[in-house]
């Protein structure tokens, strides 16, 4: 399992790098003030607020599970995963559903934006000074006109076992 996970992100990374000249499509999401991008092809669905069942004893980043048209989807609190504070106010937020190895995960974010086509030449590697936790989950940065788009590495974001290993 961990081997597989180790392989996937690097290949994704390559495609992100190799596309030189052309553009790449991302679904954008915001958490706090930061804008994130998720490769459009990995996205299955965008959801509004859902009824979520808590899962006792699960890692704190796992918000619970929900029913998406008869399939059970595990909801991940991306804020917690990124080590951010809980959201203020009652805004229920939105979710982006992604497929990871045949399993569906719902990534809970504050807002889901549009699909952006960004030119490949606006790509930058993660700054070396980036918080290690963010560096682990980020595939790189795209310079947009007004702000920066952090590309989320979904595979790593969902690889709980791997992160445990690194910590321990």
């Amino acid at each position: 399992m961990s081997d597989k996970n180790a392989l996937v992100p690097s290949s994704e990374r390559n495609t992100a790098l190799d596309l030189g000249g052309s553009t790449k499509d991302f679904v954008t999401a915001t958490i706090g003030k930061q804008m994130f991008g998720i490769p459009v092809l990995t996205v299955q669905d965008v959801l509004g607020p859902q009824r979520i069942t808590r899962i006792p004893l699960a890692p704190p980043e796992v918000a619970g599970s929900l029913n998406l048209r008869g399939r059970i989807v595990t909801a991940i609190d991306v804020r917690k995963r990124l080590g951010l504070r809980n959201k203020e106010g009652d805004d229920p937020g939105m979710s982006i559903v992604v497929d990871q190895g045949g399993e569906l995960y719902s990534l809970m974010v504050d807002q889901v934006g549009e699909v952006l086509s960004v030119p490949q030449n606006a790509f930058e590697r993660n700054p070396a000074t980036l918080d290690p936790r963010w560096r682990e989950f980020s595939d790189g940065i795209f310079r947009l006109e007004k702000n920066l788009l952090v590309i989320l590495d979904v595979t790593r974001l969902l690889d709980f076992a791997g992160s445990v290993k690194q910590v321990g």
Binding site: R54, I55, P56, A58, I72, T74, E103
Partner: protein
């Protein structure tokens, strides 16, 4: 019909249909190496399988045919119509033989010397023998008139050149094209061979050929999978509808919905059945493998297979076939010693490898155990060091159990030499990966010198089960109905109320103390303050795992519902308390609790032994069982304990209600007189108020032991150090970190009844009972207890000693024997007595802490007349009485 044979027939008739087509194609494109090697492979497979099944006539024909094809493939012969005819003829013969095989389940008499001679002649010379050539030639033309339909059908199977890489499963090697196609081919092929068949020789050909094929259809597993998913969705939708109509009696939907419901249930069962196969199918080849291995290695191996009809999902079955084979091989090769080694170790020459499969709470458990040498911890350590997996420092702190886990690491083989069977270092890691792929786990228990047991646990991920829906801490959970025994509603003023010993809740239920766990607490949903309310009113789900029952305290109980067990997301898989999740009728997702996991979590080591990393780290002495002890104080500050299982009830007795008769204290208790005993003669009761009392029960008799205070219930490994010469003490042990005196319940029973009922005992001659148990604790516990019950008890600490007694001419009416003992174990002991002239007729009762069905079964086989759980005194005494009465 034999499963193997019918599988062979189905498969071969498919291969043959393909062969016909391929051969005709070959005739048209004589130089196409692909077609040629395909044909060669098919014939080769047939030959190989025949040999395996012991069908010599079939094999001979196939072999001769293969010879010719081999020469053609190697370019020594050219493809001529003659050659094709000859090969076709051999294939017709094979078909004829198969037809006979199908009707009679045996090869017909006679031989095919003529055909084989011609095939061999052709293979050697490339020409047909003179004289014989003309007749087949005439027939050779026969298939020709119909090449058109054949040719048009032929390309169809081609686009599927075995999409999956075949796992090494020789019998399944010929992957069938999907069913409709193969039928089309079969039809075309049979019409083709109608012409070519030697009509006179085998007239039954065309009618018989496809009956096997017609009764079974091969369906792509993926199709079944989809069907299953659809049915699951249907069940969920049905549940949703039922939920909507519930409570509306007059709805016009009620009746049709009921019908829908029934049909859905039937459909669901049907689809489930299509996927279920007995696990024996995966085992079918093992006896042969083990036999060959035994020959090669010069060992004597007895392969026991228990629970072969345990059904499991076909796909799961396919996936565990190879790991299972591998593990059995491993056990036979690495695990068992050779004959000399076994002799030296004082074991029977024949080693046993046992496969045992059974269902347990939504899982299938497969145990592979051997009575061989066990894992060599030292060698594993050394190997782990050389491989750089650990440092010596780390090894220091590891328990044996943890060290054993290294064998699951890649490239880890401790076999000293590489044999043809195992020792190449590709092994257990692959096995584990494969099993984990389907959401299963592998556990390992090994005792050096005594053998190893691998326990594979595979969840029935596709199962639809009936589950009880409960609520706790505001969340709903499903508990599989299969492990729920009953529901008890407890409140402070009803018959059942939750009592506490220290902070541990327990429930009196039919003369037993049932340990309780608070679901809220173990799930971490505890809202702290709410705990007191639990005592007021609570629902208790009495669950059973193996032989252990316990109560789960929940807030509310809803109804039962059919649920589709879906595996949890991989990131949640290490939560051992859940076996899956599901969607309820109202569309919400809920988690399915795993009673096994709860039992493990709350201290009871289940049949599966150690589970999870957490518990491993917790207890070092993991291979010893724990015992629940009731810890109390009576007379002085010494802490005393008694096994909880021996205590029937805990009572508080009002001192004022104590009466005296003959100078002895007693109370009226449940309509009877119950004698009270004190821990020793000097004990002083309180002068007023209530006095806690442990109630012991022995059949009809009840006795109260008056104590000062009940301290706690502790689960701990019981390690009794026998120091006690004092009456009433078994010895002392360290319980929960403190030195504790273990009281001898039997002594107090005797104390209470020698006066009260003692005189009665002269009624009959005392029966003589031999007690064999390696644990001094049990010997000291049971001996007085049985004496009190009117038996004359002799106790010995090993089977060897018992046999010595036998040789000295001792005579007993019954034997009670422990199962797990060092040296000769209980099973072997019983076996050795089975045909003994002096003791052969003496009933033997097994005494063990493992009382699963399989243990019962095994016990009966080796001659135990009954099987009693340790600690179950009532059962032991009543069994003993019954057994003796039956003799």
């Amino acid at each position: 019909m034999d499963d193997l044979l019918s599988e062979f027939l189905t498969e071969t008739s498919e291969s043959l249909s393909t062969l016909d087509v391929e051969l005709v194609k070959l005739e048209q494109n004589p130089n196409d190496p692909d077609i040629l090697s395909n044909i060669f492979r098919l014939v080769h497979t047939i030959k190989g399988t025949c040999g395996f099944l012991g069908l010599p006539r079939l094999e001979a024909v196939a072999h001769a045919g293969e010879n010719v094809l081999g020469k053609i493939r190697d370019g020594e012969l050219v493809v001529t119509p003659d050659a094709v005819t000859l090969v076709l003829e051999s294939i017709d013969t094979i078909k004829y033989l198969l037809g006979e095989l199908e009707t009679n389940e045996a090869e017909p008499d006679g031989n095919d010397a003529d055909l084989i001679a011609r095939l061999n002649h052709f293979a050697d010379t490339g020409t047909l023998p003179a004289g014989a050539g003309s007749a087949p030639k005439a027939q050779a033309r026969a298939p020709e008139p119909e090449p058109a339909p054949v040719a048009s059908a032929a390309p169809e199977p081609e686009p599927e050149p075995e999409p999956e890489p075949e796992p090494a499963a020789p019998a399944a090697a010929a992957t069938p094209p999907s069913a409709p196609k193969s039928q089309a081919v079969a039809a075309a092929a049979s019409s083709a061979h109608d012409g070519g068949a030697k009509g006179d020789a085998h007239p039954r050909n065309e009618t018989k050929e496809s009956t096997v094929a017609a009764q079974t259809i091969r369906v792509n597993v993926e199709l079944l999978e989809n069907l299953m998913t659809l049915v699951s969705e249907l069940v969920l939708t049905r549940n949703q509808l039922l939920q909507m109509v519930r409570g509306k009696d007059d709805s016009e939907f009620t009746v049709p919905l009921q019908r829908l419901s029934h049909i859905t249930t039937d459909l669901q069962e049907g689809v489930m059945k299509t996927r279920m196969q007995p696990i024996g199918n995966a085992w079918a080849k093992l006896p042969r493998i083990v036999r060959d291995l035994a020959l090669e290695m010069g060992k004597k191996i007895d392969l026991q297979m228990i629970g072969a009809d345990t059904e499991l999902d076909r796909q799961v079955l396919e996936l565990i076939k190879d790991p299972l084979t591998h593990m059995v091989r491993n056990s036979a090769d690495h695990g068992l010693e050779d004959i000399q080694g076994r002799r030296d170790a004082g074991k029977p020459e024949t080693g046993t490898v046992t496969l045992n499969a059974y269902h347990e709470g939504g899982h299938i458990i497969i145990e592979i155990s051997d009575d061989g040498r066990g894992l060599n911890v030292e060698r594993i350590k050394a190997k782990a060091l050389t491989n750089g997996l650990v440092t010596e420092g780390e090894l220091e702190n590891m328990s044996d159990q943890q060290i054993h886990q290294f064998i699951f690491k890649p490239g880890f083989s401790t076999a000293e030499k590489v044999t043809s069977v195992s020792g190449r270092g590709v092994g257990m890691d692959v096995v584990r990966t494969n099993i984990e792929k389907i959401g299963g786990t592998v556990e390992l228990k090994s005792v050096e010198g005594r053998g190893s047991t691998f326990i594979i646990k595979i969840p029935l991920t596709l199962a639809i089960v009936s589950a009880l829906i409960v609520e706790s801490g505001g969340e709903r959970f499903a508990i599989p109905q299969i492990s729920v025994l009953e529901l008890v509603r407890a409140s402070s003023n009803s018959e059942h109320s939750i009592e506490r010993i220290h902070d541990t809740p327990v429930l009196r239920l039919r003369n037993r103390l049932l340990p309780l766990v608070t679901l809220k607490r173990i799930l971490g949903l505890d809202d702290t303050a709410a705990d007191a309310e639990v005592d007021e009113e609570a629902f208790i789900v009495v669950a059973q795992v193996g032989t252990y029952s316990f109560g789960i305290i929940v807030d509310r109980v809803f109804d039962t519902e059919e649920i589709v067990v879906k595996p949890v997301a991989p990131i949640l898989r290490d939560l051992s308390l859940f076996s899956g999740n599901t969607i309820l009728g109202d569309g919400s997702v809920i988690m399915i609790l795993d009673p096994n996991g709860i039992a493990t979590r709350t201290g009871e080591i289940t049949v599966g032994g150690q589970q999870g990393v957490e518990s491993k780290a917790k207890s070092e002495s993991s291979d010893r069982e724990t015992t629940s002890m009731l810890v109390f104080r009576a007379g002085g500050n010494e802490i005393r304990a008694v096994p909880l299982a021996l205590v029937a009830r805990l009572e508080e007795i009002d001192v004022e209600s104590i009466e005296y008769s003959n100078g002895r204290p007693l109370v009226q208790y449940r309509g009877k007189l119950m004698p009270l005993v004190f821990i020793d003669g000097a004990y002083q009761m309180k002068s007023e108020g209530r006095q806690p009392t442990l109630v012991f029960q022995d059949r009809e008799r009840t006795m109260g032991l008056v104590v000062d205070e009940i301290v706690d219930i502790v689960d701990d490994v019981l390690n009794v150090e026998l120091t006690a010469d004092r009456d009433g003490l078994v010895g002392s042990a360290v319980i929960d970190g403190k030195a504790t005196d273990l009281i001898d319940a039997g002594y107090y029973l005797e104390l209470a009844f020698s006066d009260w009922f003692g005189k009665e005992e002269g009624r009959t001659e005392k029966k003589k009972v031999l007690l064999v148990d390696d644990s001094p604790f049990f010997r000291n516990l049971l001996t007085p207890m049985l004496s009190v019950s009117g038996f004359k008890v002799t106790s010995v600490e090993s089977a060897e000693q018992a046999l010595e007694l036998k040789n000295n001419g001792a005579i007993f009416d019954a034997i009670i024997s422990d199962i797990e003992m060092p040296g000769m174990n209980g099973f072997e002991f019983a076996e050795s007595l089975q045909n003994d002239e002096s003791w052969g007729e003496v009933p033997i009762i097994a005494l063990s802490s493992h009382t699963s069905e399989e243990d019962f079964e095994r016990g009966r086989r080796v001659g135990f007349s009954d099987y009693v759980a340790k600690f179950d005194r009532d059962a032991l005494v009543s069994t003993l009485i019954q057994t003796l009465a039956a003799v």
